[in-house]
Amino acid sequence: MDKKERSYSNDEITVHWKPRECVHAGTCFRELRKVFDPSRRPWIDLSEGETAAIIDIVDRCPTDALTYDRIENGNIEASNTPKPSVAETVNFSIMRNGPILAEGKFTIIKEDGSEQNVKSITSFCRCGLSKNPPFCDGKHNKEGFFPDNF
């Protein structure tokens, strides 16, 4: 297990956080900031939200960065909520004040001409601040990138 992975529990569920899987789509903190607040440590606080609302957000995380297990009678049961499969068309979503989320199969040709195949999901920097271009590394959150607040 990655040392940076964390798990957080309330009485009903355990939410698992895998930072390496995160593509910075931002759905979690944009829609349920009280629970998912990147400026707080620890950044996830399950006591700040209803379990159903937390599950809804975790299910809408586009990767396995956020997953959850239900705690029933003290036992943990896997949630069995596979993330949606990927269609032939590549879907690009502009995330509000965030990156371009890309879902599908395609080839990336980087600035140096090298190629990389993407099989399911990645995210592209849209603010020009990423240290790992053309991919998003979450830097826009720290520097402030608010082009879509209109």
Partner: protein, 57 residues
């Protein structure tokens, strides 16, 4: 014949999307599903999410 889906990062320039794709805006509305689109990746375009060449200035 379908072309392979391709994203090219132009050095000091935009992202070029080519192939079978759909772009959704921040409100979930479909902005484009053309064969080729240039998207801003410098944060300075006046026509986001598309590139308008402002990065050169």
């Amino acid at each position: 014949m379908s072309t392979p889906n391709k994203v090219t990062a132009i050095k000091n320039g935009p992202l070029v999307f080519e192939g079978n794709f759909r772009i959704k805006g921040v409100d979930g509305n479909v902005l484009a599903s053309a064969d080729k689109v240039y998207l801003c990746r410098c944060g300075k375009s006046g026509n986001k999410p598309f590139c308008d060449g402002t990065h050169k200035k």
